[in-house]
């Protein structure tokens, strides 16, 4: 691990004043640290300065009592949100995404804001012996011709096919969540769905956040799509593993008829992957195993497999279909 300077601001104003003004990654925000410390040990991230925001009161708190929305401080712990009784019953997709995201020890420490900013699990990104455009822009992508079983089949580019590793962000997109961000210059709110970028030619730029912007809150509007929702995650083992394919689905049903739907995929794409084509195909249809399977296939339209990840196209479609059937039973 490279040497760094450690800052412990005691107010959000002090934290914002310490934020970087360029995108060099030389200054990093430290929340729970479960990704950042790991990547610093690997020398994949080598910040000169850590800005430890843990404990800043303005960034904590879980408020689910609002009439119109639920609000979560960026520092809310994954386990606290996952195990909230109201969220468990009214928004199972959110609890399931959090519970399936990591081990209990990680969920106790990792924060919502940190989790949606977590970085790639691509072995070429995490290793030090291979070219990686995400780590060293312009160096190339070792995954495209390399071992790419875990990589994305949707949203990739010739520069990067790293799969987005998160689960929470997939569920947040399905719940139309918003992200509040703040800098010394401005406050603004963006849709969770707009936070992450496609890799294109610059996979090192992963989000639409400016370097000096800090995520302060995550807000979820109350919705009739919450109850009949599910996060279905398919992994190499039953628990504590990253997704090969996952689906966050949320439905509004009238009997068997689908009135509205959100379908978002994880594990198969370079960012949280909402399929509006799949949603539109399902709306006004009856939810059956056949319609769910057809919608799953539509969700994977445009997939481009590499040597080792062809299986993800069928797996992704089946994962969506199973998620829809699980959610449908919760109406």
């Amino acid at each position: 691990m490279q040497p760094f300077r450690y800052l412990k601001p005691t107010s959000i104003a002090d934290a914002l004043a310490a934020m970087p003004t360029s995108g060099s990654r030389a200054r990093q925000v430290l929340a729970g640290g479960t990704t950042l410390i790991d990547l610093m040990k690997l020398n994949v991230m080598q910040p000169d300065v850590l800005i430890d925001i843990d404990g800043l009161a303005e960034l904590t708190g879980i408020d689910i009592s609002g009439d119109r929305e639920m609000s979560f401080g960026a520092l809310a712990r994954m386990s606290d949100v996952a195990n909230d009784a109201v969220i468990l019953s009214r928004y199972p997709v959110l609890s399931e995404a959090l519970l399936k995201a990591a081990s209990s020890q990680l969920r106790n420490v990792a924060t919502l804001g940190g989790n949606i900013m977590q970085r790639s699990r691509c072995a070429y990104f995490r290793g030090d012996a291979y070219p990686c455009n995400k780590k060293n822009p312009g160096s190339g992508c070792a995954a495209i011709e390399g071992l790419n079983r875990g990589h994305a089949v949707l949203g990739g580019s010739e520069a990067c096919i790293s799969a987005f590793p998160g689960d929470l962000a997939i569920a947040l997109v399905a719940l139309d969540a918003q992200v509040d961000v703040q800098s010394l210059r401005t406050h603004r709110t963006m849709l969770m769905a707009d936070l992450h970028r496609l890799p294109g030619g610059r996979p090192d730029i992963e989000t639409e956040l400016a370097p000096d912007e800090l995520i302060t809150r995550i807000r979820i509007p109350h919705s009739e799509l919450g109850k009949a929702s599910a996060y279905h995650k398919v992994r190499d083992r039953e628990s504590f593993a990253f997704a090969l394919a996952s689906a966050a689905v949320a439905l509004k049903l009238d009997g068997p008829r689908v009135l509205d739907a959100r379908i978002v995929l994880g594990g198969v794409a370079t960012k949280p992957w909402r399929s509006r084509a799949a949603e539109e195909n399902l709306i006004d249809q009856f939810l059956t195993e056949d319609s769910a399977r057809k919608v799953g296939q539509i969700a994977m339209q445009g997939a481009q497999a590499r040597r080792h990840n062809v299986f993800k196209i069928e797996l992704g479609a089946e994962t969506v279909a199973e998620a829809l059937m699980i959610a449908g039973k919760r109406a």
């Binding site: 760094f4 081990s103 020890q105 990680l106």
Partner: protein, 176 residues
């Protein structure tokens, strides 16, 4: 335990601090004792526990948050000490396996249950397993074998003592 603001002149809580790279002197509260300790700012909590405080129960298995052998409690919650900087634990209560038994050395119910159920073979992962198991029971997540297995999935046992571990947790549930 001391309620003083400083120990040997070293503050117990971080104020608005800027710490330079290199060695720092801070206080850590571990197993209800306050320790003034000097360490490189890059040190993980695991390294300080093992190398500075001689608490070698928590193990450095994978060192990347994947095996659970380093599990300790921070403010009562199971935590991977390999993925937490020691400086992040300043001002918090850290409990390690060495602090779990009663002061008169009576074993904690989970420790006793691991012995009774033969829930280990080589023992390397056991301190982490026990710290997670204690949290599992206290959080009410030990209501079925299936739930125990899911909760404990962050603790890997390469000897494969899993059936005994589940049985030990089921035994300890009623005794805590």
């Amino acid at each position: 335990m001391s309620s003083a603001e400083t120990i040997d002149g070293i503050p117990q809580r971080l104020g608005a601090q800027n710490l330079s790279a290199g060695s720092v002197a801070l206080t850590l509260r571990v197993n209800d004792a306050v320790h003034a300790v000097q360490f490189d700012i890059r040190s993980t909590l695991l390294d300080v526990l093992r190398e500075r405080l001689g608490l070698t129960g928590a193990k450095k298995g994978c060192n990347h948050g994947q095996c659970g052998a380093c599990t300790v409690h921070v403010d009562g919650r199971s935590t991977l000490s390999c993925l937490m900087l020691a400086v992040q634990a300043v001002g918090k209560h850290v409990t390690t396996i060495e602090g779990l038994a009663a002061p008169n050395a009576t074993l904690h119910p989970v420790q006793q249950a691991f012995l009774d159920q033969d829930a280990l073979q080589c023992g390397y992962c056991t301190p982490g397993q026990i710290m997670s198991a204690d949290a599992c029971i206290r959080e009410g997540q030990a209501t079925s074998a299936e739930q125990i297995r899911e909760y404990m999935s962050g603790n890997i046992c390469r000897c494969g003592a899993y059936p005994g571990i589940v049985a030990a947790i089921e035994q300890a549930v009623g005794k805590m």
